[in-house]
Structures are given as structure tokens and as C-alpha cells.
């Protein structure tokens, strides 16, 4: 198959930069863990109460709770983004699906005779054989 001499010279990421990045990544993750955990203890069950508004019992503060209109707007905005981007992603799926069908039509059918196919469009048999890659 492939001779290793054909392999390209690639200037990738240096070991030092990979190592530094890994250390920074892990350090920030550890700090984030420390920060998130530090405040958490004892409060985990605070928001697990099912609200029941009727009679002004537990949960009535949910109803009047959010006094920050910006958060309501943010939720509405992200809903809109979901729908718009979802529709766009669907369009991209359909475009690719259709493009793949066209690309598949350009390919040889499974089991199609290689030599015949090449001869049919005027190519030389040698050229056809060559597509085996490692046939030589």
C-alpha cells in the first residue's frame, strides 16, 4: 500500500504547547470544580420542591419569583433560536441528503465490473486498474 516516504511533513502542535495547554485546562477545571462545589453543600434540595400555587402554599413564590424581565426575554430568545436554527439544520440535512444521492449516482454501482465501466466511457483499462491503489 502506502510507502511511508510519501507521507507529508506536517508541522503540528509542539509538545510543549500541548503540555502547557493541558496543564492550564486541568487547572481551570479544578478551579471551576472548587468554585461550584464550594457553595453547594447543604443547598442541593432547596429547589426540588414541587410548587403548588393554590392556596398560596409552597411554591407560590415561584409565580411571583422572577422579577427580572431580562431572564424571561432570554428564555424567549433561546426558544426562537432553537426553532430558527432547528429549521436551518433540517434544511442542511436535506441539502446534504440530496447531494449525497447525486454523488452516489456518480459512483460505480456495487459489483459493477471495473474494466467494463472504464471501457464504456473510453478510458484505458490500465487507468481503471490503477484505482485499486495497491494493485501494482
Amino acid at each position: 500500500m502506502t510507502n511511508t516516504e510519501d507521507l507529508p511533513e506536517v508541522s503540528g502542535y509542539s509538545r510543549v504547547s500541548v503540555l502547557i495547554s493541558a496543564v492550564v485546562g486541568l487547572a481551570v477545571a479544578a478551579l471551576a470544580l472548587f468554585w461550584a462545589q464550594g457553595f453547594r453543600i447543604g443547598y442541593e434540595s432547596l429547589y426540588r420542591v414541587n410548587p403548588s400555587v393554590e392556596g398560596g402554599g409552597i411554591g407560590s413564590d415561584w409565580v411571583f419569583g422572577n422579577t427580572i424581565p431580562a431572564l424571561d426575554f432570554l428564555i424567549a430568545l433561546i426558544h426562537a433560536a432553537d426553532v430558527i436554527l432547528g429549521a436551518f439544520i433540517l434544511v442542511m440535512v436535506f441539502i446534504h441528503w440530496a447531494a449525497f444521492q447525486r454523488l452516489a449516482d456518480q459512483m460505480r454501482e456495487p459489483g459493477e465490473d471495473v474494466n467494463e465501466a472504464v471501457a464504456a466511457d473510453g478510458g484505458s483499462p490500465a487507468r481503471g486498474d490503477e484505482q485499486g491503489g495497491d494493485s501494482a
Partner: protein
């Protein structure tokens, strides 16, 4: 031979991609077992109930923070990373590629634009690092992952949130924001799996993201014999492609539509509308659809592992071939897009 097989990613990038994929898939499985708990009750149970799921979600969340910070740092401090910035910026070619893709589908263009070819096409040095979809993936996923990591950490530290926003309801709004934000990424990842798994020339998985560029020859021997175009007409279609791509395409569409509809109802934002926590419509169709979406993700996870298996096999083959050193430039093992002689071998 074809010109479709040129690698573009370094070894670090391919490894990062695999780790990020694994981490994000676990975050999806756990996160949506929580958000769509009506529809994915079995997944919730399987992962140890509410406490098990949230524990896995938090562990992988910290993993995500580490991976994202690692990558940002690497891009900033390394010359390779800095030199890639310009290659990621949107350009006019990307708009042209999108338009030409539509024309290609409608039969008004004979080929896809070079900036649309996920896996190269033309000679290696004439191909952009990323297709227009690839650039979109980098941009959207970067923004999403950053926002998800920040909002996730804020949710984790609820008291931090409450201190910032004063009320429980406001804190809950962040949970909703986090979940809805993730839905965009979830839909994008389903498309990503379809796009890179069902291309007829690379089916069932494109190896670009798994086999590093340093291991893939950029030229196949004599340059004169290189085809002018992609050379796709020289490749044989895999016998199962039509059936599998149709089923998987349908599953992808159903999965995307279902999580989109589910996210509208199951937003989990209890203020001040109907006070229905997780009480979305218990529709059988929606349940099936959301579960199909999870199957699409599962297939993506399997394909990612398979890509790494192909890389290991390719490495072993290179080692074997190094000794006899009698070869011409062959092709890497891209299943499906292979010449006839190799197809049977690589299918197993």
C-alpha cells in the same frame, strides 16, 4: 485512485476530537435524560436515577471545561493554532459553496464547490482546511460549548446564582436556558453525524477526523495521473449505502424534529406559566422520536470508536509496509469509498 482522501487534521486535533466527542455525547445522554425524563425514563434509570445522572453530568461537565480551556490555550499559544485563525473565518467562498450546494442538489451544477467538500477533493494543497459546514460547526459549537459550560457551572453553584438573581425562579430560568441552548447543539451534532457518516464515498465514517494528516499521503505517486476533479466516479458504492443512508437520514430528521418539538413543551421553566415541571405532552410519537434521536447519537458514538479502530489498523498497516518498502501510493482505509479489491477486507 481518487483525490478524496487527503487528511487535514494533526494528531492532536484528531485525539481532541475523539475525546470531545465522547465527553459531549455523555453530556447529551445525561442532560437529556433529565430534560426529557418523560420520554427517556429508561435512560434515566439505566444511569442510576436522578443522582447517578447528575453525577455523571457534572463529572463530564468538568471534563468539558478542561477540554475547552485546553483547546483555547493551545490555539492561542501555538503558532499552528494562531495560523489557523484566518482559515476558520467565514469568507465569500463559503457563501458560494452554500449556493452551489443548492444548485448541485437541483441539478444546476455538476460538482460541489471546493469549500463544500468535507474531505478535500482536488489536490491536498488546493483544498481549504474546513468546508463551509466545518467552519459553521467550529463557530456554533465554540459559542455553544462556552455558554453551556458557564451556565452549567452557574446552575451547579445554585447559591451563587441565587445570590446573583435573588429568587429561586430566576435561578430555575438558568436551568431552562442551559437545556434549550443544548438542544441547538444536540440538533447540530445529529446533522454532523449524518454528514460525516453517510457520505457515499466515505460511508460509514469519514476518516479525516481520525487518521492524522501526517499518516496520509498527499500525492499518489505520479502527479500527471492525478485526476483533475475528485475522482469519485472511480469509486464503488457500498452495497448497503442506499438502505442504510435512507434509514439513518430519516432517523436524523425525526430525531431533530422531535427534540425541537420536545424542547418547546418540555422546557422545564416553571415560572409563571402553567407550573408544569417536566409535564410535557406524553405523546407516544414524541417519545419514539426523541428516542430515535438518542439512537442517532449512539450511532455517532459507535462511528467515533470505529474511526479510531480504522486509525489503529492504518497505523499497523503503515508499520507492516515500512519493512518491505515495495509499494506505489495507495489509498487509506476509507470504508465504502474503496476500490473493489479492498472493500471486502475493510468491511470486516
Amino acid at each position: 485512485m481518487s483525490n478524496l482522501d487527503h487528511g487535514k487534521f494533526t494528531r492532536v486535533t484528531t485525539l481532541f476530537h475523539s475525546l470531545l466527542g465522547l465527553d459531549v455525547f455523555l453530556l447529551f445522554f445525561t442532560g437529556y435524560a433529565i430534560m426529557f425524563n418523560d420520554e427517556l425514563w429508561w435512560m434515566l434509570t439505566l444511569m442510576g436515577g436522578a443522582s447517578g445522572v447528575t453525577a455523571i453530568h457534572r463529572i463530564t461537565g468538568i471534563g468539558l471545561v478542561a477540554l475547552v480551556i485546553f483547546w483555547i490555550t493551545l490555539q492561542v499559544i501555538s503558532s499552528t493554532g494562531r495560523s489557523n485563525f484566518s482559515k476558520v473565518l467565514p469568507a465569500k467562498d463559503d457563501v458560494d459553496a452554500f449556493i452551489q450546494d443548492i444548485q448541485f442538489v437541483l441539478g444546476r451544477a455538476d460538482e460541489r464547490h471546493p469549500s463544500a467538500r468535507q474531505f478535500g477533493g482536488y489536490k491536498a494543497d488546493e483544498v481549504p482546511l474546513l468546508s463551509y459546514i466545518g467552519k459553521g460547526v467550529v463557530f456554533i459549537f465554540s459559542i455553544e460549548l462556552t455558554l453551556l459550560a458557564i451556565s452549567g457551572l452557574l446552575i451547579w453553584s445554585k447559591t451563587g446564582l441565587a445570590a446573583m438573581f435573588q429568587t429561586k425562579a430566576a435561578a430555575m430560568a438558568f436551568v431552562t436556558f442551559h437545556g434549550l441552548l443544548g438542544v441547538i447543539m444536540l440538533m447540530g451534532v445529529m446533522f454532523h453525524i449524518f454528514e460525516h457518516g453517510m457520505h457515499p464515498a466515505f460511508y460509514p465514517v469519514e476518516t479525516k477526523a481520525f487518521i492524522p494528516r501526517s499518516m496520509v499521503p498527499e500525492h499518489h505517486g505520479d502527479d500527471d495521473e492525478e485526476p483533475d476533479t475528485t475522482g469519485i466516479e472511480r469509486l464503488s458504492l457500498s452495497p448497503s449505502w442506499r438502505t442504510v443512508s435512507t434509514i439513518f437520514g430519516a432517523m436524523t430528521v425525526i430525531g431533530i424534529v422531535s427534540v425541537l418539538i420536545g424542547s418547546i413543551f418540555d422546557e422545564g421553566y416553571p415560572v409563571p406559566r402553567e407550573l408544569a415541571i417536566g409535564g410535557g405532552p406524553a405523546s407516544i410519537l414524541l417519545t419514539i422520536g426523541i428516542n430515535l434521536g438518542m439512537v442517532v447519537l449512539g450511532v455517532g458514538l459507535v462511528l467515533s470508536m470505529y474511526g479510531n479502530v480504522l486509525r489503529i489498523r492504518w497505523e499497523q498497516q503503515l508499520e507492516r509496509d515500512e519493512r518491505p518498502a515495495a509499494a506505489d501510493g495507495g489509498e487509506p482505509q476509507t470504508d465504502g469509498g474503496q476500490p473493489e479489491a479492498d472493500d471486502a477486507e475493510s468491511e470486516h
